[in-house]
């Protein structure tokens, strides 16, 4: 249920650019809900973004992502930086609802005017973040936040979307979680720019650190060698070292301009294609929603009067997709019966 838009889009954009919390918060809601007005607003914000440092924090459930995020807020504040936090928690696949509780761990900043914490529900999206996350980052960027921390849903192995949005992606691991085979799995290990073994007071912490270091040992010269750092976020230990590694990664990113440009181009292409796909999908779905006779067709199928395949072809034919499908079918036949 998208809330009533009290303020005009002009006012929301102007407010966001002036750093107004309520305007920015409402704008993130409109983006999250996919409101058409949000598109117009984002269009106008686009030329004002690109100043913030975006840090992704990902890792398995219970690794301490929220607690580490809390520590990084504190560290950024010590440098006088303003901070935006986007904390993503899963939506229930059954009800669509969600309990968003990450911010409890960041309660000490509840009244800090330079800190804006926003919870997002994954809303059926897989990949650790939500489709609205990029838009929300841009809103926080446009309102002038210096550092934006994005905490993902607790991820497993291939939920790596965050790496496309963040300048630096931190993978939080805990001792004892991964044996050798686990650690070799593709995905999360490939996208991390720096690795934090949290809860490092546990006896097997050094083993996990050693294993991860071994994975990254053969980094070719000139490439970013991923640091593996120990931390105890609950006791605020190891945070300065992480902050330092983020700074070093920034230096590397600036020196590795060609590689960075390629990554930027690839990310831009993915986003553009996804926007185009979304637009197309919405237009087609609108057409389908307006299609009468679906309920009658269901009744016929259930009554055994027609088959679901024929009905699908018929409806798609009416929407003028029938021909393409027949051509596809013909093409498949050619392949199936060569000669």
């Amino acid at each position: 249920m998208t809330p009533r838009i009290d303020a005009s889009i002009d006012a929301l954009v102007a407010g966001t650019l002036a750093g107004d919390l309520r305007s920015a918060s409402r704008l993130i809601r409109l983006i999250d809900d996919g409101a058409p007005a949000a598109w117009q607003a984002q269009k106008r914000l686009f030329s004002h973004i690109g100043k913030a440092l975006v840090i992704g924090i990902t890792g398995p459930p219970g690794a301490g992502k929220s607690t580490l995020t809390d520590c990084l807020i504190a560290r950024a504040r010590r440098d006088g930086k303003s901070v935006g936090v986007l904390a993503v928690d899963p939506s229930s696949p059954i009800s669509g609802g969600a309990i968003l509780g990450d911010r409890i761990r960041m309660n000490r900043f509840a009244l800090d005017d330079a800190v804006f914490i926003r919870s997002l529900a994954s809303r059926g999206h897989f990949g650790g973040i939500t489709p609205a996350t990029r838009g929300a980052i841009r809103v926080m960027d446009a309102m002038g936040k210096d550092v934006i921390l994005v905490e993902t849903v607790g991820v497993g192995q291939d939920e790596v979307d965050i790496a496309r949005l963040a300048h630096t992606t931190i993978v939080v691991a805990v001792p004892g979680l991964g044996d050798d085979v686990q650690a070799m799995k593709a995905g999360i290990l490939e996208v991390g720019d720096l690795f934090v073994v949290n809860k490092a007071d546990r006896p097997d912490a050094d083993e996990t650190v050693g294993y991860l270091q071994n994975v990254f040992r053969r980094t070719p010269a000139g490439e970013w060698r991923r640091p593996v750092l120990k931390a105890q976020a609950l006791h605020h230990k190891g945070i300065d070292e992480i902050w330092q590694a983020i700074a070093e990664h920034a230096v590397y990113r600036h020196s590795a301009a060609p590689a960075l440009k390629a990554r930027q181009r690839a990310n831009c292409e993915i986003e553009l294609r996804s926007f185009l796909r979304q637009g197309l999908q919405q237009a087609l779905l609108r057409k389908l929603d307006a299609e009468p006779g679906i309920l009658e067709a269901v009744a016929d199928i259930v009554a055994g009067k027609s088959d679901i395949y024929a009905v699908t072809d018929e409806i798609l034919g009416k929407l003028r997709f029938g021909e393409e499908r027949e051509e596809e079918a013909r093409a498949e036949n050619v392949v199936l019966r060569p000669g």
């Binding site: 249920m1 998208t2 809330p3 999250d32 309990i99 968003l100 509780g101 409890i104 919870s119 529900a121």
Partner: protein, 134 residues
């Protein structure tokens, strides 16, 4: 895709979290997004969080007398910030008399001991709908 966003928390030194967790889970199962702030909130932190999260409704769970002190303060603070966010109060310790006084002070709905969960859900839904365009 959109969802009702409800902030659920406990005020003051009240440490009785079970009711808050139960209502949070119920609202989640009704398809709502619950921003759960746990215990030890003040009216200031609740208001600030409601702004940051663009909450449609604020739900306060209370199992201590403190609500008598904090709730009017919360309502005043919302008014002071020109925020039109309805507040729902629930808890075992709320007497009929105090419920009436809370309503008079601007609390949108009060649920005392023996309340039916379905009624709480219906109340949150209708209060959220009041503020929506579709």
């Amino acid at each position: 895709m959109s969802a009702i966003r409800v902030l659920v928390g406990v005020l003051g030194m009240d440490q009785h979290e079970v009711g808050a967790v139960a209502i949070a889970k119920t609202l989640r199962d009704e398809g709502m997004e619950v921003i759960y702030t746990g215990c030890f909130n003040t009216p200031e932190t609740i208001v600030r969080t409601a702004i940051e999260e663009d909450a449609d409704v604020i739900g306060i769970s209370s199992h201590s007398w403190e609500y008598l002190y904090y709730m009017p303060e919360l309502i005043e603070l919302l008014k002071h910030n020109a925020l039109d966010i309805p507040v729902v109060l629930g808890g075992s310790v709320i007497t009929e008399e105090d419920a009436a006084s809370m309503r008079a002070k601007g609390v949108a709905a009060v649920f005392g001991s023996g309340s039916v969960m379905a009624n709480v859900v219906a109340s949150v839904k209708s209060l959220a709908a009041r503020d929506t365009a579709h």
